[in-house]
Symmetry: C2
Subunit: 178 residues, 2 copies
Amino acid sequence: MEEANLTPSSYIVLGMVSTFGPVTSYDIHQWAENSIGHFWPFSRAQLYAEPRRLAEAGLLNEKQEQGGRRRRIYDVTKEGEAELTAWLKEPTRAPTEIRDLGLLKLYFSQLSTEEGLTHLAEQQVETHQQRLVMYQQLQAELADDDKAAFALATLEMGARFEQMAVEFWQEVARDPPS
Amino acid sequence: MEEANLTPSSYIVLGMVSTFGPVTSYDIHQWAENSIGHFWPFSRAQLYAEPRRLAEAGLLNEKQEQGGRRRRIYDVTKEGEAELTAWLKEPTRAPTEIRDLGLLKLYFSQLSTEEGLTHLAEQQVETHQQRLVMYQQLQAELADDDKAAFALATLEMGARFEQMAVEFWQEVARDPPS
DNA sequence: GGGTACATGTAATCAGTTACATGATTTA
DNA sequence: TAAATCATGTAACTGATTACATGTACCC
């Protein structure tokens, strides 16, 4: 019941439960997959372990269905709500992590060939272009929904990143460093 | 001695050892910290565990100093080199992960206040601006070094990201969604 | 009513971090 | 030569993933 230290995953779960009412782990998975899961992925199994921990810490409450599948249903507690809003207010020091295998490969490309590098760059252009299109579609789908303002904002950031990445890799393909 | 499955961290270590000749874990740490560690951080302890694994898999060889500190010194093997260049060539499917606490908070900002959001946005502007400056300084330092072309290219991507983030958060601060 | 796809969960494992501990080198 | 700093390493823990297992609903 003590102040467990909360990881980013904890806040994702806490936020999802707060936002989308009483939910099962499966529900959280569905929501997360189509939103922040695009930027910050995690496995489904996490979404079973994490709510348990939060429940033990008193930030969620858990009830289990009696009949049927005996699913566990989570809901935020007063303490959870408080924890979450406190976190939202507190300053964010940690720098953005950009985990990108393409960038890693670029960094080590002196061990590759110019041809290999060009090929990498072309692939990356394609991949990022696809992602860009996907984000744009999601944006279009959410455009009407006025509950979706914040989801749209984060998507916008994603789209701009992809746009930037497309341009970057196009330049690399056109004029590879050496 | 069997084909361990290699994680991104494995390739980072493998790449660092290949690029910078025989090195200790500490050396790897130094190199990584000032380059890809900015995008893809990991703990120093990782850099002790990982080379061990790679050595067991036959991709690095490890010798230990006899006198003094008995440091372990790693060097890439033929197999390691082969594994690395194969990886560099193979297509990169995994999407970029953008792990950013600020974005997470933005996504959940309907649970916050407009004031809180504005405050978040202003902080984020500042943080990203600082990072941008840091990358620009690093770029300036490396500008002369012709060995540094690839490091410079990755830094350039970092800088563009930060630039984009600064603009994005400025817009959020100016005109917060709701 | 049998098959297929969706929904739900746990156990085992492993990657990765925190915390601790100590050795060597420089500097005052 | 003491203090401070840099260098080096490991043990213990825990977060996170993979793989497995099974239940429920739908559809042909």
